[in-house]
């Protein structure tokens, strides 16, 4: 099942690249959900010959948390804070795609000289997880809104997940579950905070009528 790991690594980087070219927050959330969904199969692919209960728990937990709950919270947030869906990146989308391509090359170049303990199931896991992380940083740095920074953070986490699940045998499951929970809580808190910020500002600006999402003033 080596090739399935390779394919999911490549798709993870590909989806991170498409996020760089997406100009709507809704689209970005959907792509991240898809990426998380794909990556949640990686533990199963890694131990295809003997799938243990631990693999299924890790995979299922990741899928429920990152591919369902976190996107649901994000969708709830953008619906409730009536924000414009268009993003305004610091550097243009075209430039960021090209930078993304360069970052992928950098990730592969770095992993040439990276010697890590533990064995990797596939030679593509390390460079692809690095590339996903770098692309996540890129999203975080170039997108200015609070919510898009959270999205960048989620992409970085997906990269870390890919990296960690290939080092799986060297890492206790508790840590992975702890990280997942952390992310969940972080996104949750972000949603609440964004909602509060929004309410404060709306109240100061127009006390009479607060437009709902999709409703013109």
């Amino acid at each position: 099942m080596m090739s399935w790991i390779d394919v999911s690594c490549i798709l993870a980087v590909f989806l991170a690249l498409t996020i760089l070219a997406t100009h709507r927050i809704v689209g970005m959330i959907k792509i991240i959900a898809l990426q998380s969904f794909l990556l949640s199969f990686v533990p199963l692919f890694l131990h295809a010959e003997a799938i243990s209960g631990r693999d299924i728990m890790l995979s299922g937990g990741t899928m429920v948390l990152k591919a369902v709950l976190v996107p649901a919270i994000l969708f709830w947030t953008i619906r409730h804070i009536s924000m414009r869906s268009e993003i305004k990146p610091i550097i243009g989308l075209g430039t960021s795609i090209l930078c993304g391509a360069v970052l992928i090359a950098v990730a592969f170049w770095i992993s040439l000289s990276l010697r890590l303990p533990g064995k990797f199931e596939s030679s593509l896991v390390l460079p692809c997880s690095l590339a996903t992380m770098l692309l996540g940083f890129m999203i975080m740095v170039t997108r200015t809104r609070a919510i898009t920074q959270v999205l960048g953070y989620l992409v970085i986490e997906n990269g870390i997940f890919l990296f960690a699940s290939s080092l799986y045998d060297a890492m206790p499951m508790l840590i992975e579950m702890g990280i997942l929970l952390d992310i969940f809580v972080a996104v949750f808190i972000m949603a609440i905070v964004l909602n509060h910020i929004n309410e404060e500002f709306e109240r100061t600006r127009s006390p009479v009528h607060r437009p709902k999402w999709g409703e013109s003033q």
Binding site: S3, V7, F14, L17, L98, G100, L124
Partner: protein, 311 residues
């Protein structure tokens, strides 16, 4: 005499395939689109009737045009016919193949495009000038992606002949689901849509000058000239699809008829896929087309890196 015949036969059979099947490809796409919008739609042979109608008509030339305008349709059709000889169609091996013919293929495409742009500028119409400028810009980006894909394929096949690159040598790498090929296929599909002015990039059906690319450049052509242009566009789509199908499904069962059935079945599938893409997607805003092509380039570049990494 017989040796001349045996040399001419592959060339003729190649031309027959391209000339007879390329309008059918367009017909299938139109049929799929009609199905998705809940209509019966014209027959799949409608493009043949359209071409036949245009071939019966006379050309009308504006008084401002020069010989370039008259030469362009002929050059473009000739380029497509020559290009068809370099591309393998399933079991039909490319009649002309030599090391480095990939460059010839890309430059032939560029030659056709160059004449199309010149002809559009020659009319002096501001709309056509706009279309020409867009075509030049987008093809600049798509050529970049195309070359990246070809470099990846050349590395995989260890050859720089088009027939070797997309022909029978790739299946060895598909056996293990070579992930780089996945990227090449995705990237090449975007290039195919962009080069042939299909929907996410350009709508072949619209005739609103502000949004179109390819259609606006042939606005002033009429009669036989227009037929040449449309025929060449159909052939270009067919050739690109043939390349993509050869990359995805390299034919290698021994039986001649099975191979042919697989190839043409896959071509039909690709036509249906293009129809589905066209029915489910809206045309992108012009400034987003650039992003699509850059994504295609980034994918091809990523494919190249992965190939180098695994080599």
């Amino acid at each position: 005499m017989s040796s001349v015949l045996s040399m001419a036969f592959p060339i003729l059979s190649h031309w027959l395939i391209v000339c007879f099947l390329s309008p059918l490809f367009l017909g299938v796409i139109a049929k799929v689109k009609a199905f998705f919008s809940g209509k019966v739609g014209p027959s799949v042979f409608q493009p043949y009737f359209d071409l036949a109608k245009l071939f019966r008509k006379k050309c009308v030339y504006s008084s401002t045009v020069t010989w370039i305008f008259r030469a362009a349709p002929v050059v473009i059709l000739a380029v497509m016919l020559v290009l068809a000889l370099l591309v393998p169609f399933g079991r039909f091996k490319a009649p002309v193949q030599f090391s480095g013919d990939i460059l010839l293929a890309v430059y032939l495409l560029a030659l056709g495009r160059f004449f199309m742009i010149l002809a559009a500028l020659d009319t002096g119409s501001s709309f056509e000038g706009m279309g020409a400028s867009r075509e030049a810009y987008f093809s600049c980006l798509s050529e970049l992606a195309m070359f990246m894909n070809f470099i990846t394929l050349a590395l995989l096949a260890k050859s720089i002949s088009l027939s070797q690159m997309v022909g029978a040598h790739i299946p060895m790498t598909w056996g293990g689901l070579e992930p780089a090929l996945l990227l090449v296929v995705a990237s090449f599909f975007i290039v195919l849509l962009a080069e042939n002015c299909r929907i996410p990039v350009d709508d072949p059906e619209t005739h609103l000058e502000l949004t179109m690319i390819h259609e606006v450049m042939i606005l002033d052509h009429s009669g036989v000239d227009l037929a040449y242009m449309l025929y060449a566009a159909a052939m270009k789509l067919f050739i690109f699809s043939g390349l993509l199908v050869s990359i995805i499904i390299p034919v290698r069962t021994g039986d001649h008829w099975t191979d042919m059935a697989i190839f043409f079945g896959a071509m039909l599938g690709l036509a249906v896929l293009i129809g589905i893409v066209e029915s489910t997607m809206a045309r992108l805003r012009l400034n987003r087309v650039r992003l699509l092509l850059l994504i295609s380039f980034a994918l091809a570049f990523f494919g190249l890196i992965v190939t180098l990494w695994r080599a």
